[in-house]
Symmetry: C2
Subunit: 478 residues, 2 copies
Amino acid sequence: MKAKYLNVKWQKSMRLRMDYNNMTDEFVGSKQGISAAEIRAKKDLAATAFSRVQEKRGTGMMGWTELPYNQKDVVADILATAKDIKKNFDYFVVLGIGGSALGPIAVMQALNHLHYNDLPKAKRKGPKFYVEDNVDPERMKALLDVIDVKKTMFNVITKSGSTSETMSQYLIVYDILKKELGDKAKDHIIATTSESKGNLIKLAKAEGFKTFYIPDGVGGRFSELCPVGLLPAAATGIDIKQMLAGAAFMDKLCKEKNYKKNPALMSAVLSYISMQKGKNISVMMPYADSLRYMSDWYCQLWAESLGKADDFNGNKVYAGQTPVKALGVTDQHSQVQLYREGPFDKVVTFLAVDDYRESVKIADGCKDIPDVNFLCGHTMNELIQAERVATEYALTVSQRLNRTIYLPEVNAFTVGELLYFYEMETAFCGEMLEIDTFNQPGVEAGKNATYALLGRKGYEQTKAEMESAKAKKEEFIC
Amino acid sequence: MKAKYLNVKWQKSMRLRMDYNNMTDEFVGSKQGISAAEIRAKKDLAATAFSRVQEKRGTGMMGWTELPYNQKDVVADILATAKDIKKNFDYFVVLGIGGSALGPIAVMQALNHLHYNDLPKAKRKGPKFYVEDNVDPERMKALLDVIDVKKTMFNVITKSGSTSETMSQYLIVYDILKKELGDKAKDHIIATTSESKGNLIKLAKAEGFKTFYIPDGVGGRFSELCPVGLLPAAATGIDIKQMLAGAAFMDKLCKEKNYKKNPALMSAVLSYISMQKGKNISVMMPYADSLRYMSDWYCQLWAESLGKADDFNGNKVYAGQTPVKALGVTDQHSQVQLYREGPFDKVVTFLAVDDYRESVKIADGCKDIPDVNFLCGHTMNELIQAERVATEYALTVSQRLNRTIYLPEVNAFTVGELLYFYEMETAFCGEMLEIDTFNQPGVEAGKNATYALLGRKGYEQTKAEMESAKAKKEEFIC
């Protein structure tokens, strides 16, 4: 039987659509809106960004463009491993942070039951699922209170094997496992890491852990479609082949040269122009609980990729747009007042879903209360859609730039599309800004300062500098 | 036995401290930093804001200032009700949105076990806890999959009783309860609402629901310390008397006239100056999982209170600062690259905790890997503190404005302090901006558009306008 996601007609019916009318002067007025002429003026810039991305595809730190195509054996290994995990473990815990955590969390929320861990075992497609992406001792202790390590598979994810947070967790967990299980401890760890360098691969070989590899050209925030994301997804029953098929489908759309027909390139052009217009904030507001953690994943991708002090030519540019996560309709009661009446400093991207996977009817009642009774007979589906369209309208009439990305439904294919769409938009936008999209030099200072504070050798000077800064602090405490 | 939180010495040991050295030119340089002269120049403005807030205390929409003092009987009723809930119910579900949800979620996360719902019943201090603050049909269905309505107490929270989202949920849930339980359905609903006006109080009286009241002068985002927040907290075993004692303690500090000694007033001065300097983003970054949803609560308070188009004099000011939630250390691997290298457009507020409630030692291991082995022997507590101080340092040397609010520990008293501190800062800052801190006119347009789309009578014109706008949309879809 041919899988549904391989059917071209079905794929087309699942294509994401971006409606950016409300970014234009025609809808939000000429003072804030983007004119057709402004868009046209970016034609050459878009063409340059496009050809640079095409040239770099699959090379350097753009290895992630090939993930939809080059993982046949890896996927087979992941599926076999996932089968084994589902059979033998009650808990699956990701030890990872940043790019090793945000993708797995986002995909889990999107594609599994919204109260997955609360379901009885028989109704779940896999073990209970936790992601430990912090080093808060209260949280670590809380996790250990609710899992049974003897029935837990830990997936340690770090490309370098030197991420302090993840490796601390690994040390703690492996110590407990060895005390509880002796020689069998190693069967409770899967390491997802670089094959060619770093600490974790050495450790994995020495201890005999099962391993999956993060390709060299795949950085943390571009890693969801490699084993970093695919193993946790598969372990909880998500169809990872469909995710990759969705990414491949989007990749095809993003190979279109004409920027007006290339969704990620067009999106990058709009983002670039809005930054030039002083919109330094980009809000992602999905109207679906299932997509709420997509915003966290996007926030890392956008912030860490585009937030750069230097451009290619060594100029100080302090580029970047601050991503903000919001949730429809929830944050209408929290943020929309500001979005409509505050500074004209943001672009809001709504994520809309054409068909929700459930339908709930609002029961009859409150006959004497017209304020409430008008809801009766409608579905929650109608209500959430009406609120989304209403919010879009309210922002637009207040001259606030917004656009909507429609997912026909939330499934593994469309989630694959969405992830890949944003990765591509980010790559295009980085080229337009003439910055290095794939590095993160700004996090080094903090790492070094941490090493200094924990007394690591070689960081004595940093420690001295920090102490002298601290000594000055007296006056401004309240 | 005298409660610990009534002891003055103990209270003083639990006082929050704000360190704002890294907001000043001395630490972040003269180009970005705030000078002592700039602070002094706001002395009169601060004095005016202070006296206006003092005048308005307890009146109009500032009824919330009295909540630490005027709820003796209410608290007794809440505690008795909570005792009953704990005895008779396995699930406690809040139906509410915005101010009726964000406070309960924040306090629950701060003061109960971090995996509370996953604990076995014997280890929990109350029923499982859910907050339904959206109208996504998939989420509603998911909730109904994991609770047993026959063992569930629903707390419907809406001041007006006409909040569409909450009342839809109420209609759905009450219909199910009546089908399952007949006449006993009413014993599964507690209504928290206005005593004097609105729909829900009428409904509650007609149906015979237990009720708690939201005082007239307490708006949604200032309601956590009234029954809106106190009942859910008490139902899960949180010491609400301590929360109120903490708020009262902070209130006392905020009655200090000298702005340099009044933490909320000083904080408002700094926020005001930073907005004037073009910092249109305010990041809250707690270094504690327990405080992560405090950021969501703060985001509503700050956005909805200060995001205003008009000032007192009818001038268009488009005031407001966009609040952003981040989590330490997690978001060091997501946002800090942008915070250090991107535009100079933000102020970061770290929430620090002196003493975590657990301590976890990092076990020995990885002897051959110095990159990792330096962690061994330290605690997670030391690691998270070092990372916080390191991040603060890294931002400071990059001339990024930041400040730190220290909680001696996370407990009901300090959480009460923190909530009240931010409410007071917001009130002071609103006065400085000369705007109405307590209204939200910007959400009306969206509500009306929703009514129009759902065919409510009287909204035909809005509907026609929306349809004509929609008809124009053709070109800009990709």
